[in-house]
């Protein structure tokens, strides 16, 4: 038995399965996505049957690729549907040796992955379907993992995937990047899906913590892939990559060792990930090329303002408030306006923040969002209105929130009791 002492790189199967699906989809065509996924899954299962006995091969990615290629060639021999195309497909399978043969990212392979992302984010598909299909095919998540991440039943996710594949077949969508004139709106759609993936992973709305961490990781990987490819590199893509990296850098510090929520101003800044922070700033710099200003730019700038402050007292709240004002123009959503209130509080004080908060309380989109009454409670407590603060925290507790969020709210209530 020979075992590679290095073992397996983290997430190797997940990343390589996405890449192999992209490669084989290019070769077979988007209409054969189901078949392609099956071939790739079979290759992974073969590794599971073989490697416990033989040890991990010295080039695990190359091994998987070779087995997937053989599986695809078997399909060609077996399935008469490919009879006329079989020689061309077989030639392409043999010719294109995907970059899995070595460890570094391969431009041809990345090109396939990029095309796959655009396919999954096709405008003919509903938004939630784009997200599910991207996670399944590009990112190698299982139906169960997607369900856990989005608190949706497996059956619903599976149904979305079936419909998506049928729709792609009906439309006979080509496996290619959009033409130059279509690229801009299609790229926006891709960035939006990546942004959603990240938000879902970053939000602490319950669900499986490990899967959520993986979502953040995956969103960063995809944003970087889009940002570094010649065809899709753009200020917006860099801004999104910067935003994700800077936020992800703080992810670890948001919970303490016992799993309790730690507010930004109380976080141990030495626990912020320096590598991700540096990556974020590098993308931020490149996002400034050109004159485009997207909502991703502004959010990345807000994240950067927090990150650059060496202590909570150094936080440039005036700059942050200005950025939130810009953001509210680009994206006047209730959630942005709610987040802006914190900056108003820090710059203009509690009374001003409470005044700005009032119109938001009527927003239908925020009716069941616990953070609104939670923020109101903190504002009321800071002006000494204990009774109203208590009422606000109790309202927040009655709304859906995760267990750490509940414990955080209960702690706030207890502190009120201690002071009154």
């Amino acid at each position: 038995m020979t075992t590679d002492p290095k073992g397996l790189v983290d997430h190797l199967f997940r990343e390589r399965s996405g890449q192999m699906v992209a490669w084989l989809t290019r070769v077979f065509g988007a209409a054969y996505l189901d078949l392609v996924e099956e071939v790739v899954q079979d290759a992974l299962l073969k590794a599971l049957q073989q490697w416990p006995y033989s040890g991990v091969p010295s080039n695990p990615a190359g091994w998987l690729c070779q087995v997937a290629r053989n599986g695809a060639l078997d399909v060609l021999r077996r399935d008469s549907a490919f009879r006329s195309r079989a020689p061309a497909i077989a030639a392409e399978l043999t010719r294109s040796t995907p970059g899995t043969m070595n460890e570094s990212p391969d431009p041809v392979f990345e090109d396939d992955e990029l095309k796959m992302i655009f396919l999954c984010c096709h405008p003919a598909l509903p938004m939630d379907t784009r997200v599910a299909l991207s996670l399944k095919t590009v990112s190698g998540f299982s139906v169960q993992e997607i369900g856990r991440a989005f608190l949706t039943s497996d059956a619903t996710i599976a149904q979305r995937l079936v419909r998506a594949k049928r729709r792609l077949r009906e439309l006979d969508v080509p496996f290619d990047l959009p033409s130059a004139e279509d690229l801009s709106p299609r790229l926006d759609a891709v960035l939006e899906v990546i942004y959603l993936l990240f938000n879902e992973g970053y939000a602490s709305r319950g669900g499986d913590e490990l899967v959520r961490a993986d979502l953040c990781f995956e969103a960063l990987r995809l944003a970087r892939l889009v940002a570094r490819s010649a065809r899709t590199e753009s200020p917006a893509a860099h801004a999104l990559a910067a935003l994700i990296a800077l936020q992800a850098a703080r992810r670890r510090a948001r919970l303490d060792d016992r799993g309790e929520i730690v507010l930004l101003e109380e976080q141990d800044r030495s626990r912020w990930d320096a590598g991700l922070t540096a990556l974020g700033f590098a993308h931020l710099e490149r996002s400034a090329a050109g004159s485009v200003m997207t909502a991703y730019h502004v959010q990345a700038a807000i994240a950067a303002a927090h990150t650059s402050a060496s202590s909570p007292a150094d936080t440039p709240w005036r700059d942050i408030l200005r950025l939130y004002d810009d953001l509210a123009v680009l994206n006047p959503s209730p959630l942005v306006r709610l987040n802006r209130i914190v900056a108003v509080w820090k710059v203009h004080g509690s009374e001003a923040a409470l005044t700005d908060l009032r119109p938001l309380e009527a927003e239908p989109a925020l009716q069941s969002y616990y953070l609104l009454p939670a923020l109101k409670g903190r504002l009321l407590a800071s002006i000494g209105d204990q009774g109203a603060a208590r009422h606000a925290f109790e309202m927040a507790l009655a709304l859906p929130c995760s267990e750490p969020e509940q414990r955080f709210l209960e702690k706030q209530l207890k502190e009120l009791g201690a002071r009154s």
């Binding site: 038995m1 075992t3 073992g7 397996l8 997430h11 190797l12 199967f13 997940r14 390589r16 399965s17 899954q41 992974l44 299962l45 073969k46 590794a47 599971l48 049957q49 073989q50 490697w51 416990p52 006995y53 033989s54 040890g55 991990v56 190698g140 998540f141 299982s142 139906v143 169960q144 993992e145 993986d214």
Partner: protein
């Protein structure tokens, strides 16, 4: 030192719905288990069997009959084997006890090799 063969019977389809990430984790568990046995010098070898049920040959009334598997009611498939050295059955069973094979519905048949007659 006596030798034992661990025959790993796989439960069919127990892995088919696992995600790539989960499959990788399962492999890593097996590799860690094998590595532990190798380090202590008890693992003598192992081999995967080919992915087909094999053939069974029987002679009846002078006629050779060759049949394809599976041969029993259970749908388990013999996936492969390991050979370990251990001073007793109990010790051999202990070595197999934390094999990840059990986490996924598999069974392990432990048989002592007859080394006395050699």
């Amino acid at each position: 030192m006596p030798k034992y063969v661990l025959l790993l019977h796989d439960a069919p389809d127990s892995y088919s719905s696992l995600s790539p990430e989960q499959l990788q984790q399962v492999i890593q568990k097996y590799v860690a288990w094998g590595e532990k046995l190798r380090k202590t010098g008890v693992l003598q070898g192992g081999q995967k069997l080919a992915d087909e049920p094999g053939r069974i040959m029987r002679q009846k009334n002078g006629q050779m009959r060759v049949t394809d598997g599976p041969y029993s009611e259970t749908k388990e498939v013999l996936g492969g084997y390991y050979i370990v050295s251990a001073d007793s059955y109990e010790r051999a069973i202990d070595l197999a006890r934390d094999c990840p094979h059990f986490d996924y519905g598999g069974a392990i048949e432990v048989r002592e090799l007859d080394t006395m007659s050699q």
